[in-house]
């Protein structure tokens, strides 16, 4: 009932092609992420599903129903807007209670409607029934805003506002939940706990969820499947592990996590390894491909860096020489940019306190396990 199917969706804004033949098939209860560079059409896709944009062409189905002509308020799609879209004249509690009020409104008879309208117009004009109050306060506790329930939304910080937007969409328990960068303004700790909250509610209620995030880690750790978009097109759909380990194009390899991409030509085979020759290097891979001209993809954490002469004996395949350009300390790891011929390779090593970090200008030897060299 809550599955979402998007077929050949195209959307044009006065000349701008925001979406081109987008196809998505999202299963009921799935947690689905849209990933892609800024301006690639993620928000537009969501807005089409929610019913705020009329597609130029294409079909959208929710459950078994074609919804192209169903008005947005009948689609039962909760949405967390990228711009929050909070109601500025209502306080936190009222913002969150809005959809519950509406639900009650729709299910009550004429006479009972009046007090609901009154309290919607002004909080002083009506008391909220206990169940609504409880439900709202519960969700506010989840997003850690219960103490701010009576504040006006204009008196909140950016992150607090974002959490109100999140709570407002979650409380309505929609069949489909659309979240457009719902956690972008939260710190890591809070984001972590919000993720768990979202996940829990989503699973408890079996809500089909589509979310946009620019945060790799978030997409990877939360999503059942991920669609990578670029320039209005869907480039690849798959589980996080599929995308990470088998990206279908260099663009995706690069977009989903960091990758080093080198151009080369397959020159032959040796002991079951494909041998690729590039400008200034020779690399072996366990990967086999049809074509001659290939992109060699290596993840930063799959390259090891050694001071010359310190390579251990079991690391003797795929040795490349280079010079350290920059070293960046990233908490638990150290990231090196290393110049190898015309390429700048990114190499991540685990930071070991006390152990010296390679310094800029230093010569290094790099090794790559052939099993972790992807050819596409």
């Amino acid at each position: 009932m809550g599955s979402v199917k998007v077929s050949e969706l195209t959307k044009e804004f006065s000349g701008v092609h925001a979406l081109k033949n987008v196809n998505l098939d999202i299963r009921e209860g799935e947690f689905f992420a849209l990933l892609g560079p800024s301006g690639c059409g993620k928000t537009t896709t969501m807005r089409c599903i929610a019913g705020f944009e009329q597609p130029t062409s294409g079909m959208i189905q929710i459950g078994e129903t074609k919804v192209n002509h169903i008005p947005p308020n009948k689609r039962n799609c909760g949405m967390v807007f990228q711009s929050y879209a909070l109601f500025p004249h209502m306080n936190v509690f009222e913002n969150v209670a809005y959809s519950l009020n509406i639900k009650q409104l729709n299910s009550s008879n004429m006479a009972a409607k009046l007090p609901i309208y009154l309290r919607l117009l002004n909080r002083k004009l009506g008391k909220y029934p206990k169940p609504i109050e409880q439900k709202v306060m519960e969700i506010l506790q989840y997003v850690e805003l219960d103490k701010h329930a009576t504040r006006l939304t204009s008196e909140l910080s950016g992150g607090q506002q974002q959490r109100v937007a999140l709570a407002r969409a979650l409380v309505m328990e929609p069949a489909v939940l659309l979240m457009d960068e719902p956690l972008s303004n939260l710190d890591q700790k809070l984001r972590h706990s919000m993720r768990n909250t979202i996940r829990r509610i989503q699973q408890d209620l079996g809500i089909t969820t589509i979310f946009v995030t620019h945060d790799q880690e978030e997409a990877m750790s939360m999503a059942d499947r991920v669609a990578v978009m670029d320039s209005g097109e869907v480039k690849q759909i798959g589980t996080p592990i599929e995308l990470y380990s088998k990206p279908s194009t260099p663009f995706i390899a690069n977009f989903v996590g960091t990758s080093n991409v080198l151009k080369g030509t397959v020159v032959g085979e040796e002991n079951g390894y494909s041998v690729v020759k590039g400008h200034g290097f020779l690399i072996k891979s366990t990967n086999h491909v049809q074509q001659k001209e290939v992109n060699v993809i290596v993840r930063p954490e799959n390259i090891k860096a050694f001071k010359p002469g310190t390579i251990s004996s079991d690391e003797l395949t795929n040795i490349i020489e280079g010079t350290v350009l920059v070293s960046t300390y990233l908490g638990s790891i150290v990231r090196y940019d290393i110049q190898v011929e015309e390429y700048q390779l990114v190499v991540d090593t685990t930071f070991v306190p006390g152990e010296a970090i390679l310094t800029e200008g230093e010569r290094v030897q790099l090794t790559i396990d052939p099993e972790r060299v992807l050819l596409i």
């Binding site: 929610a50 947005p72 308020n73 711009s83 879209a85 500025p88 509406i102 919607l120 006006l152 008196e155």
Partner: protein, 566 residues
């Protein structure tokens, strides 16, 4: 634009209702007026449907219909100069008023200027004073025997400081007594702007005034243009002032229309002039439409910001002094009216010859019922206009219903007397026999004053970002519920501004009241007008003073209730 949903929903239903309302109570009567321009005689369209006698006479009238009236009017060159004069006057007045009001509007909406509440209160007074009375007040001040002239002469001046019996005199009255029509919608437009944009501008190195001109003001432009149009039509269709000040070479379209019908019962001629006025107004609406198209900036965003008031001392003081300097003129005029209301007689001397409270006594013994009627009728019209205007603004801004926009603005330029007569013609018999009921009076008031409400709510509506409404719809609200619970409250500044205008203008509305008010519903304004009619200026002045006091009290109460709206 965005809501191109084909399915029929509640909002569509509301829209149909609104069209129906305007169709029956505005367009149908106006069509009758238009037909009158051919027949020269009243036409009862609704009556013809149900009553065969009326149908008979209607057919007769049509059989004698001709283009005579048109021929007469278009071969008469005085009408062309009347159109030209009226246009010049109205355009000049609206330009002056807009420029004059911007600083005051900003001061009231966005700063903590000293005496803000006082200034705001004083700025409603000019609206309350009936035009006839304010024109008289100007004579009392600037006339040959006026006290300003007296002071001017004793300071060595020759003749009059400013000749009130001239186009300049008319402009003086219109500028200083009509400016609140533009001021309040402008205040609303400034109120809804997004403070963080101004902060961004300051942050980029721009000064306060610079930020105002290039950020704050452009964002308020839709509201300002809307106000300008309002003042244009108010000035264009005002006949009270020119008739009282009566420059000898006076030749204005509205006065011509008024005379055709009032002096000569020439319905045909008046109808044509009304048609011309509607056409002129239509042209300006089209211009406005052209100008504000694509300017829905939406500064009320879904990332709410707190409104901060500007408290820079130099600025607020300057604004305060400036605003006081502007309102001092109507206030002095008002004081002159107060003096007149207390005078036994007031002849050629700068001050009255004696003082008495008897005029007030007269009012309180004879007119209490009228006061009560006024308030009830005005409240009725107010409620009706708030509801209709909210939806009309919604349709106009969100769904681009420029037809509706134009239709709700027509009443601005139809002379009250013409509209009143049209209503009587249409509702004098079954099937809708409403003449002589308070209901028709309220409906007429509403239609006539609704444009003020629409103008000012539309400005605010344009400032509300679409996504806020989308969020409501997304949370399950029907577009109608979203409009009521989200858009409505967010438009409050505009509604408040419009309410002042509607309430006050209904309270002082005369032309409709004269024609339609049944005896037991006679409002205050009617009593004032009747006094003026018979030269009872002292009593009329006293009534105006009472009117002003009543409105100020009501306004204070409304403020108390709604707290932060003004």
């Amino acid at each position: 634009m965005k809501n191109r949903l084909s399915s029929f929903n509640e909002l569509t239903f509301v829209k149909v209702l609104i069209y129906l309302f305007f169709g029956v109570f505005l367009l149908l009567p106006l069509v009758s007026v238009f037909l009158v321009s051919f027949t020269g005689q009243p036409i009862n369209l609704l009556g013809s449907i149900t009553n065969s006698n009326i149908l008979q006479s209607t057919i007769e009238k049509f059989s004698s219909a001709s283009f005579d009236n048109y021929e007469k009017i278009f071969t008469n060159k005085t009408y062309f100069s009347a159109v030209q004069n009226s246009l010049e006057l109205a355009i000049l007045v609206s330009l002056i008023v807009i420029v004059m009001c911007i600083p005051i509007a900003y001061g009231i909406a966005r700063t903590t200027m000293p005496f803000k509440r006082t200034i705001a209160a004083l700025c409603t007074i000019p609206l309350i004073v009936p035009t006839f009375i304010s024109a008289y007040a100007i004579i009392i001040m600037f006339g040959r025997a006026g006290w300003v002239t007296y002071i001017y002469n004793s300071l060595g001046g020759e003749g009059m400081l400013l000749d009130p019996y001239s186009i300049a005199g008319i402009m003086l009255v219109q500028v200083f007594f009509f400016f609140p029509y533009a001021l309040w919608p402008m205040v609303a437009a400034f109120k809804v702007s997004d403070i963080s944009l101004e902060e961004a501008s300051l942050n980029l190195g721009a000064r306060n005034w610079f930020t105002f001109i290039f950020v704050t003001f452009p964002l308020a432009i839709p509201g300002v243009i809307s106000s300008a149009l309002l003042i244009f039509t108010v000035s264009f269709s005002d006949f009270g002032t020119p008739i009282i000040l009566a420059p000898k070479d006076l030749n204005l379209l509205v006065v011509e229309a008024y005379r055709e019908i009032a002096g000569f019962f020439n319905w045909g001629g008046a109808a044509i002039l009304t048609v011309i006025m509607v056409l002129v107004a239509a042209f300006f609406f089209w211009l406005q439409h052209l100008f504000t198209k694509g300017k829905n900036y939406g500064s009320v965003s879904g990332k709410p910001k707190q409104q901060k008031l500007n408290d820079a001392k130099g600025l607020t003081r300057t604004l305060s002094v400036y605003s006081l300097a502007i309102v001092i003129i109507p206030v002095l005029a008002m004081l002159s009216i107060v003096l007149q209301s207390l005078a036994t007689t007031w002849g050629k001397n700068p001050l009255p010859n004696g003082y008495t409270l008897s005029h007030y006594q007269t009012i309180f013994t004879s007119s209490m019922g009228n006061i009560q009627n006024s308030i009830v009728l005005a409240l009725g019209a107010l409620i009706l206009s708030v509801i209709i205007a909210t939806f009309v603004s919604y349709f106009v801004v969100r769904q681009n219903s420029s037809k509706l926009d134009f239709m709700t603005s027509i009443p601005l330029v139809v002379p009250g007397i013409a509209f009143g007569i049209a209503l009587i013609q249409t509702f004098n018999t079954a099937p809708l026999h409403l003449t002589g009921t308070a209901l028709l009076l309220i409906v007429a008031y509403t239609i006539r004053r609704l444009p003020y409400m629409v103008r000012s709510t539309m400005g605010t509506m344009r400032a509300i970002k679409q996504d806020i409404e989308e969020a409501a719809v997304n949370l399950g609200a029907t577009p109608l519920t979203a409009a009521i619970t989200i858009i409505g409250p967010l438009m409050l500044p505009g509604i408040a501004a419009g309410s002042i205008l509607v309430f006050i203008t209904v309270i002082k509305e005369t032309s409709i009241s004269i024609l339609l008010a049944p005896a037991d519903w006679a409002p205050m304004s009617l009593a004032i007008f009747q006094n003026i009619l018979r030269g009872e200026y002292y009593t009329a002045a006293a009534m105006s003073v009472v009117l002003v006091i009543i409105v100020l009290i009501l306004q204070a109460i409304a403020n108390r209730i709604s707290k932060n709206q003004l």
